[in-house]
C-alpha cells in the first residue's frame, strides 16, 4: 500500500492537451474518485498512473518513488477495466492467478490467495468456469479478484460499473466499498457517474477539460462547491442557476432576481457576501431540494414566492416541479402530497440559508468559507 502523488502532470496528443498540469495527492488507504464528463481527462490520468500512457510533462509518484519511466508491470498496481478484459481462454482461477504465475509464486501461495479472493468476492463456485459462462456482474467480480490476488500498492478502476445494468451497478457499488473496507488498498476510481463518485469516495476529484475543478469530500463538494461546473455536476437534479444582482439597503443585503422579485439575504450568509461588488451580474445557485412547497410557518431564511409550474414529475417519494424564471428553467422538489399540477400556479418557498452566489462571467462561487 502506498500514497500516489501527481505533480503538474500533462498529457499532450499532438497539439491537443488532454490533461493540463494536474496536482493531486492521494493518501495511503484512501479511496479517491476522479469524476467528470467524457473527455475531461480522467481516464487519461488513470492510464498515466497505470503506465499505459506516457506522461508528456510532470511527475507521477507511487509510494514516494517517481515512476514516470517505470513500466506498468513494475509499478505494483492492478487495474480493473470497464469491459472486464478477462482472458477468454482461461478459467476464473487461471485469470486470477495469471499475474502470480508470471512472477513464479509458489503454487500453494497462489492457491491460497485465489481461494481467499474468491471467498471475499463470493465467486468460489465459479472458480473453474470460463468467462463466457459468467454474467456481467460475475465477470466484473473476477476482474476485481484478479486485482486483489496481486495484493498491489494501488488499485485502479476505469469505469468498472458502466457496462452493468442499473440494479447490478448499485449492488456492485456496495461490493466495491465492502472490498475496500476489508483490503484497505489505496484506490483510484474513474467514473462519469456523480452518484458513484459521491457514494464510494473518501475524496472526489472533479475534472473538467483536462483540469481539476475541485478536490474534496463528497459533503464538501455538495455543500460548498467552488465553481459553477462542480455545483452543476454534483447532485441530481442539478443545481438551479438564476441571474441576479446583489443590492444593499443599510446593513441589509438582498438579491434581486426580477423587477418584482427580491429575496433578503439571510443573516447567516450576510457576512459571506458583504465584500461582493454590488450591481454586478451574478448567479443565484439553489439546489432543487431547497425549493419546496411553501409552509404555513415560515422559518428564517426561507422565502415564499409564486410560480406557474410547466411540468411536474411525480417520483413517489417526492415530486419534481419545473417552472421558468426570467428564462431560466428551475427545478424544485416538493412533497408528493402538495398540490402540484402541470400548468397550475403554486406557492413555493426557497431556502436561502443554503444559497450560493456565483460570478456569472467566470462561474466562480463567491464568498466561500
Amino acid at each position: 500500500m502506498a500514497e500516489v502523488n501527481l505533480r503538474k502532470v500533462v498529457k499532450r496528443y499532438d497539439d491537443v492537451e488532454a490533461v493540463r498540469g494536474i496536482d493531486l495527492d492521494i493518501a495511503d488507504e484512501e479511496f479517491v474518485v476522479l469524476v467528470g464528463p467524457s473527455g475531461c481527462g480522467k481516464s487519461t490520468t488513470l492510464r498515466m498512473i497505470a503506465g499505459l500512457e506516457d506522461i508528456s510533462d510532470g511527475d507521477i509518484m507511487i509510494g514516494g518513488d517517481v515512476v514516470n519511466d517505470v513500466p506498468p508491470k513494475d509499478r505494483d498496481i492492478a487495474m480493473v477495466f470497464q469491459n472486464y478484459a478477462l482472458y477468454p481462454h482461461m478459467t476464473v482461477a487461471e485469470n486470477m492467478s495469471f499475474g502470480l504465475r508470471l512472477k513464479h509464486y509458489p503454487k500453494a501461495e497462489i492457491k491460497a490467495r485465489v481461494t481467499e479472493a474468491a471467498r471475499l468476492l463470493d465467486i468460489t463456485d465459479l472458480i473453474d468456469r470460463k468467462p463466457k459462462q459468467l454474467s456481467g456482474g460475475q465477470r466484473q467480480r473476477v476482474a476485481m479478484g484478479r486485482a486483489i490476488v496481486r495484493n498491489p500498492k494501488v488499485f485502479l478502476f476505469d469505469e468498472p460499473l458502466s457496462n452493468l445494468d442499473a440494479k447490478l451497478r448499485v449492488q456492485m457499488r456496495i461490493e466495491i466499498k465492502k472490498v475496500h473496507q476489508k483490503v484497505r488498498t489505496t484506490t483510484v476510481y474513474v467514473t462519469h457517474d456523480q452518484v458513484e463518485a459521491m457514494t464510494l469516495a473518501d475524496r472526489v476529484v472533479v475534472m473538467n477539460k483536462g483540469r481539476i475543478e475541485q478536490i474534496g469530500t463528497p459533503g464538501e463538494l455538495y455543500h460548498n462547491p467552488a465553481t459553477r461546473f462542480v455545483a452543476g455536476f454534483i447532485g441530481s437534479p442539478a443545481m438551479n442557476f438564476m441571474p441576479c444582482r446583489l443590492e444593499q439597503a443599510g446593513d441589509k443585503l438582498s438579491i434581486r432576481l426580477t423587477d418584482r422579485l427580491t429575496f433578503p439575504v439571510p443573516p447567516i450568509r450576510t457576512a459571506r457576501y458583504k465584500n461582493i461588488p454590488r450591481n454586478e451580474p451574478l448567479l443565484l445557485g439553489v439546489r432543487p431540494e431547497h425549493i419546496t412547497e411553501a409552509r404555513p410557518h415560515a422559518e428564517p431564511g426561507v422565502e415564499a414566492f409564486d410560480a406557474v409550474l410547466d411540468v411536474t414529475e411525480p417520483m413517489g417519494m417526492e415530486t419534481l416541479v419545473y417552472f421558468t424564471l426570467e428564462g431560466a428553467q428551475i427545478c424544485g422538489r416538493v412533497n408528493p402530497n402538495a398540490a402540484a399540477h402541470d400548468g397550475a400556479p403554486m406557492r413555493l418557498a426557497v431556502d436561502l440559508n443554503n444559497m450560493h452566489l456565483l460570478n456569472e462571467a467566470n462561474g466562480v462561487v463567491l464568498g466561500r468559507p
Binding site: P88, L102, R139
Partner: protein, 303 residues
Amino acid sequence: MSAVTIDKGGPRRKVKYGSMSRDRTWALRWSYFFLVLFAIFSLTPPFYMLITSLKSSGEISAAINPWWVFHPTLSNYQELLGSNQYLRFFLNSAMVSIFVVTITMLISVPAAFALSRMKFWGSAVLATGVFLTYLIPDSLLFIPLFKMFAKLGELTGIQLINRWYVLLFIYPTLTVPFCTWIMIGYFASIPKELDEAAIIDGASWLQTLTRIFIPVALPGLIAATIFAFTVSWAQFLYPLVFTTSTDQLVLPVGIITTLVKGDVFNWGQIMTGALLGAAPPLIIYAFLMDYYIAGLTAGATKG
C-alpha cells in the same frame, strides 16, 4: 387530419405477413437447393477423377459411357504406390509444405503482433506494404527470383537451383504477406484492454503474444496455417521453373512431367496421382476444422 383523408380516399391495403417459421422454412429450402447445386458442381471433377483412376487404360480410351466403371481395377494405385519415384515426389511435397508452414508461422505471427499492437514509427505503412506485396502476381516474380538464385549460386557457390529446398526460400514470399495480413486482422479484433491487462499483470510482449494472443486468435492461426499449407502443397509454377531433376520434384510437377510421356497421357495414373495428392490437404482440413471454432473470444469483454 391527413391520415383520416387517406383512410377515406383509398381501399385499405392488407399486407400479408408470413409467419416467422414459414419464412424460415422457405429460406432453408432455397439454401439447400443452392447448396446441393453447388456441391454437385464442385464434386463432379473429383468424382470423374475417382472413376477414371479405377479404370484400366483400355477402358479409358474405349468409347463407352465415361461416367461408369465397368471393370474396376486398383492397378493404377498399385503401380503408383509401388513406384519409388512417386513416393519421392510425395516426400518432397510433404517436407516443403511442413517447413514452409513452420517458417511462415514463425515469421508472420510475431510480425502481425508487432504491426497490430506495437505502434512504432512507420508501422501503418509497413502493414499496408505487407498487403500490397501479396497483390503482385507470382507469375511476375519467378524470373527475377530465378535470376537472383542463379546469381547467388555463381557468387557463393551455394547451389540452390534444382534443389527442392530452394522452394523453402520462395514460398514464404507468397505465404508470409497473406498470413501476416490475416493475423493482423485477428489480432486487431482482440480488445486492447486484454493486452493492457496482461501488461499490468506483468507479462512481457513475448508472454502476451504466446499466452494471450496466440490462444485467443487460434482460429485465425489455423486459417493461416491452412492457407500456407495449401499454397505450398499445390504450387505448380515455381517448382516447375526451379526444379528439374526427378528426385527434386514435388508432387504436382512430378505427376505431369513423369506421367505424360511425349504425347502419351497415362490418364489413369495421372488421375490416381492427383487424387492421392489431394488426400493430405483433405485430411488436414478435416482435422483442423474441428479446432476452427469461431467465437473463441466470447466472454473476454462485454459482447
